[in-house]
Symmetry: C2
Subunit: 344 residues, 2 copies
DNA sequence: CTGAAAGCGCTTACAG
DNA sequence: CTGAAAGCGCTTACAG
């Protein structure tokens, strides 16, 4: 910048004014500066600008995610990017692989990079750190999960309500024994979905059999095994609700293996690729991660422009029931039904 | 930092030494500084550090991608992240949606943010800008595509060779008429794959019928239509090579619609989700975007540590043929075969 | 409309 | 082992 000023024969401040398109610059001076800029191939240094300028320009946003290669987080990222780009923000991101230590280290690095805001997708346990940072004035938005004891804005899916609706639907089809395959119950979304399942059975006077509630089967292989076991057991279920995409994948694999895909109903949480091309097509509760990212971005921009409000905002993004073939399968041997037994 | 120095009763330089874990610091002084740091909740400002320190610490890497929500680019990102994290790098990324203007604007913003290196996945046309930047000393790595006239390191897939191998395989099965469905021919990867297809037919003395070469059908709907048209035409092909994941998806949809999925062979470029669960399972040429990202990261780190070399490095990441059911389907009415006609 | 001075939070030589 | 000075590239008041 000094070189530009020298070449144009003006002061630093004048160069600054031209670069930032400020008022009160004579055409002649502006012209000289512009020429010097192109001749020298000068590019302003944003780091220096941010350092010198008033704080919180909203130019840099930190995004902490479990895994950048996961479709869910990638879609959140994209939603975040699309809303914050309007303000010229850049996103600096990192993956944690759900490791609390890496998460904490990443958040600290981001803070040291002086990001103007932080979006955490599926926080694992940096509550204390985040609380300090929030108190310090940094806007923080949590996506997908609630954070214990940290007063931050949140964006979550309708985990419980949508699961309940899907299971009620299976009940209405006449299914008496509906299994639930869920993930790690230390995770809030997983417990919410289980709660939704139980509420559905409770509301429809369904059978709450502990043998049908299988949790902590969050990967494909274990879901496949669990499904095999369920279907070969005594009093096998006639329908299965799978609470995660990976579980759904495992269950589908087992169903196809056993040739039972046409007579066991399946409803999954999370959209999966080729859900419509598979045979039977598979019914799912579809989350909207892109929208979640958008909302997170909006919340962040709101905080950035209005720093007075201190009460956290909770946002729920509705998941959508996509009814396809697998969720319309009726029980093979229809149960005798009592009036009002299966409707809520 | 000044506050810390004051509280600990030492100079700025001493605080700096402790923060950076330098030698020659007495235990007592270090202890006092550390206490002051925790008491004040001090966090060093990396921006200021980078500004003041010698250039190119390799701490910030810019990643320009077409779409963060796309699995391919997300996997590249993850590979890049995993290799560069070892050096403590942070990645600042943005999507371009294949818009050259947005790409250029993003690259400029990244340069102004003084990233220490740039990775561009599927560059659209910022050759001139990048060439200047490379001349200026910024390491640039291009992933997935070659860049005309810009001497940067590149990481690409074996587009041509792997396509050729897959089509030769179809020839060996006895297919005489093999269709090619490809994407936008302005894109280098697309032309490479078409070239591979032609080479395969040429090498096996196969029939090169222009009617069987359909390009610029890069989205699902158009691929579906094109497939319908191909299969209902006179002299329909008995096998189809689809040169992109979205095209493969469209073709599968059409095949299932027409009930032809069991008698028309299909080989696709790009792995697709549920390729094994579909019926028939689908044969594909699988790229390894994660590995591509890793290589890109390594090339970048090499450049960063050794700035002397100036010749660009070209890296090819081999794609893998995954033989499954759809690619093993033999022609319905086997063609009469002449000796040496279909082997290369 | 234009500019000289001080400062953002750090680091680099250079002295002691 | 410790520190005072100058500087990284910019911006903010404040004068003219």
């Amino acid at each position: 910048m000094g070189d530009v000023a020298a070449r144009a024969g003006v002061s630093l401040k004048s160069v600054s004014r031209v670069v930032n398109a400020e008022q009160h610059v004579s055409a002649d001076l502006a012209e000289r500066v512009r020429r010097a800029i192109t001749e020298l191939g000068y590019r302003p240094d944003r780091r220096a600008r941010d350092l010198a300028a008033a704080p919180a320009s909203g130019r840099l946003i930190g995004y902490v995610q479990v895994d950048a290669a996961n479709l869910f987080f990638a879609a959140v990222y994209r939603g975040l990017e699309d809303t914050t780009r309007t303000r010229g923000s850049l996103i600096i991101a990192g993956s944690t692989d759900a490791d609390p230590e890496r998460e904490t280290a990443l958040i600290e690095t981001l803070i040291e990079s002086r990001v103007d805001g932080l979006v955490i997708a599926a926080a694992e346990g940096s509550d204390e750190l985040l609380r300090r940072e929030i108190a310090h004035g940094t806007p923080v938005v949590c996506v997908d999960r609630l954070l214990a004891n940290a007063p931050c804005d949140t964006v979550v899916s309708s985990n419980r309500d949508s699961t309940r609706a899907a299971v009620v639907h299976l009940r209405e089809l006449g299914h008496a024994r509906i299994a639930f395959l869920g993930g790690d119950q230390r995770v809030w979304t997983a417990t919410e979905r289980l709660a939704g399942y139980r509420e559905a059975l409770h509301n429809t006077a369904g059978e709450l059999d502990p043998d049908l509630e299988i949790v902590d089967v969050g990967d494909v292989a274990r879901a496949t095994q669990a499904t095999r076991r369920l279907l070969t057991a005594q009093r096998a279920p006639t329908a299965i609700f799978t609470a995660q995409d990976r579980i759904t994948t495992g269950t589908i694999t087992a169903l196809h293996e056993l040739g039972r895909q046409y007579d066991v109903a399946l409803f999954g949480f999370d959209e999966i690729p080729f859900s419509e091309q598979l045979n039977p097509s598979v019914s799912v509760v579809a989350q909207d991660p892109y929208e979640m990212g958008r909302r997170a971005g909006q919340l962040l921009l709101n905080r950035l422009s209005d720093r007075s409000s201190t009460t956290p905002v909770q946002t729920v993004v509705e998941a959508t029931l996509r009814h396809r073939q697998s969720g319309q399968i009726v029980p093979l041997a229809p149960q005798p039904r009592t009036e009002g037994d299966d409707r809520c």
